[in-house]
């Protein structure tokens, strides 16, 4: 049924630095989530990407939002009906000194 989607999400979370990935539909409802990510962020993620899309209404390329917080960052992109959210964690030496 949604094995292919599960596979895509699993692939993404195994990539370097990635800790979680989520996919939301047009209504901000979670279609699937893998890794360390709360499915409830789907609504807010979609809302953020919708607001950002208003900055360049004529752009044909979907905008990517990157939010930084501590040693983590959150990437959001909305393309057509779906919104993807990826959580990443920096493990490089420069940021781990601070911890």
């Amino acid at each position: 049924m949604e094995q292919q989607l599960e596979k895509v999400l699993s692939e993404i979370v195994t990539q370097q630095d990635t800790v979680g990935a989520l996919l939301a539909n047009r209504q901000g409802l979670c279609l699937g989530a893998k890794g360390n990510i709360n499915p409830n962020v789907s609504g807010i993620g979609t809302a953020i990407s919708e607001q950002v899309a208003k900055l360049e209404p004529n752009s044909t390329v979907p905008a990517t939002v990157c939010l930084y917080s501590g040693n983590k960052r959150c990437l959001i992109q909305k393309d057509g009906e779906i919104t993807g959210i990826i959580y990443k964690q920096t493990t490089t030496a420069s940021t781990s000194i601070g911890n």
Partner: protein, 126 residues
Amino acid sequence: MSDDIKKYFNGLLQKVSGLYVIQITDRDGVPLLRVSHSQEKNVDFALMPSFIPTFTTACDQASKLGLGRNKTIISMYSNYQVVQMNKLPLILTFVGAEDCNTGHILALEHQVDGYLEDIKLAVTEP
């Protein structure tokens, strides 16, 4: 007084685009608080005498399906969507456009919980 809380709920209403009304009633549909976009569509149906009690009963019956207590019912219509949350003795109702961000509405739930605890005191026996 309740100006503060009204302001807070108005703020929530602004945050979600396409959301028309947030209302807090008791389970029989008696309103305690209602914020709405004054210039938006006419969504008075959400306070029709039968609207909230029907949700209460539906919620009660849906809790018997063996899946645990029913918490939220989302109804999609051709022009509106209605998200109702069971916060007994209160009922929290959101009315929005059909393409409004449902996930965002659901995410408001934990934000308002603190306020609802205070409002609950007004409905229950002292």
